[in-house]
Symmetry: C2
Subunit: 150 residues, 2 copies
């Protein structure tokens, strides 16, 4: 790995890499650089709008949605020391709901729309989004420790 961008040294991006590697059961992507492995998460506006939103999103796209929220759940768990359980629920045609629970507390609850087009404009935007969601979740867990530890 000859990566120089310091963003790949952050906890979140390291965890994203772990999540993506975990999906690669057959080692198809062995030898690829961090950028190459995480590249599918970056979509320009043009690339996004070129993706049709017909039917259900394909399993590979879904596995990326899961990787993103799994990574956030892992960081929540690390930070607050309690199990964080993610659940990505797609109802139909790319609509759905993502939740992360800690004890009896819903630390993250988001509606999914157009999951077919899941992606971020840049690695930096992806990290910013994850950081934002992480801090809201940790703030909630800190505010209601009794519920989070239930």
């Amino acid at each position: 790995m000859s990566t120089t961008d310091p963003i790949f040294e952050t906890d979140f991006m390291r965890e994203m890499l772990r999540q993506v590697r975990a999906l690669d059961s057959y080692g198809v992507h062995d030898g690829k650089s961090v950028e190459q492995l995480l590249a599918p998460f970056v979509l320009s506006k043009e690339a996004r709008s070129a993706i049709p939103i017909l039917g259900d999103p394909d399993p590979v796209t879904l596995s990326r949605v899961r990787a993103f929220y799994n990574a956030i759940a892992v960081l929540i768990e690390k930070e607050c020391g309690q199990m964080a359980v993610p659940l990505v629920h797609l109802s139909h045609e790319g609509f759905g709901r993502v939740i992360i629970t800690v004890g009896k507390l819903l630390v993250l609850d988001r509606a999914l729309r157009d999951a077919h087009r899941f992606g971020f404009e840049s690695f930096s935007k992806m990290k910013t989004e994850a950081d934002k969601q992480l801090s809201v979740a940790l703030e909630l867990a800190g505010r209601f420790p009794e519920v989070a530890g239930f």
Copy 2:
């Protein structure tokens, strides 16, 4: 309806009936008695074990799982005056997770196993189970009103 069993006059069974009727978009079951409409929820031990647990449960069985938890969510909502959102998530082969959230509070969180065989030994057992889950959920909502109202 010439029903005499007083169980059908309870809030829960009335709500179950409403849920089942809501699924019947084409009026196929119009004219059926309450017992007939709710009959598929009752499975003897023998009938249960005769159902194979291969592959994913069929959509009709799933709609019954949803009807049961929707009914519980409606009663939670009635009782505590706040929106209760059910989510039935099947991961694979009849395994899954059912949650009901009120605000940021997880008032119900259950693992689903062998959803293919979803059913109860009798109407009375079904109602007892629902009452139990309802009272646990309401107890939680009452204990953490700030989180439920978040």
